[in-house]
Amino acid sequence: MSRRASGLKAWFLQRVTAVYVGLFGLYLASHFALAPPASHAELVRWVASPWVALGLLLFIPILLAHAWVGIRDVLMDYVKPIALRAAAMTLVGFVFLASGLWAAQAIIAVRAFQ
């Protein structure tokens, strides 16, 4: 794959993911700003409801893909030493993967105990 093709793919991926992240992100932010769950039971009930659980499980990889393309662009623009850039990208990759898996297992566990 040429550099140009990979750049265009990333550019397109960034715009497609932006639409879902924007819409669902806005829903999440307004839910927690306007009607934050007052108890553990209420939070569990909200997360375990099928549409919210599905929306969240989709949100995790789509958000992380969007964030990955964005932070990768930033690192490529500002971190010039190649070893340092590779180290930073590896660290971000691990943190993103760990964050995504950790959040997803919490959702799946809540669904399983319903």
Binding site: A18, V44, A103, A106
Partner: protein, 125 residues
């Protein structure tokens, strides 16, 4: 690629147009939210895991410094979202001419700040 391209980085002499300000803040806000990703994943799993975890997460989020950081993230989300919608519209060929682009840049910049101030007011009430 040429090795010695001209670089002009005298920050005090660069007059960035408003579109440039919105653009760099789109990056800054994105980086801020990236830094928040692991914290939110941890808080979410903690609050969801048990009643005690929910209480710990609530207490953490009630701390004044955390509230201030949340407000910064609210601005980051709003600015990133509004600037992002602006870029999507420009990619579709809407509002590309300079007066429209300037106007939408000012709108995104101001609206994100205005709603952040409203949220700040709501937090104090």
């Amino acid at each position: 690629m040429t090795k010695h391209r001209p670089v002009f980085l005298e920050l005090r002499r660069i007059h960035l147009p408003v579109g440039g300000v919105v653009s760099i803040l789109h990056r800054v806000s994105g980086v801020l939210m990236v830094l928040a990703v692991p914290v939110f994943a941890w808080l979410f799993a903690l609050a969801l895991g048990s009643t005690a975890g929910f209480e710990t997460a609530s207490a953490f989020l009630a701390h004044p410094l955390v509230r201030l950081t949340l407000l910064l993230l609210v601005w980051a989300l709003l600015h990133h979202l509004l600037a992002g919608v602006r870029y999507l519209l420009i990619d579709l060929g809407l509002g590309v001419d300079r007066p429209s682009a300037r106007r939408s840049a000012w709108t995104a910049l101001a609206a994100a700040l205005a709603v952040t101030l409203m949220v700040a007011g709501g937090m104090l009430l």
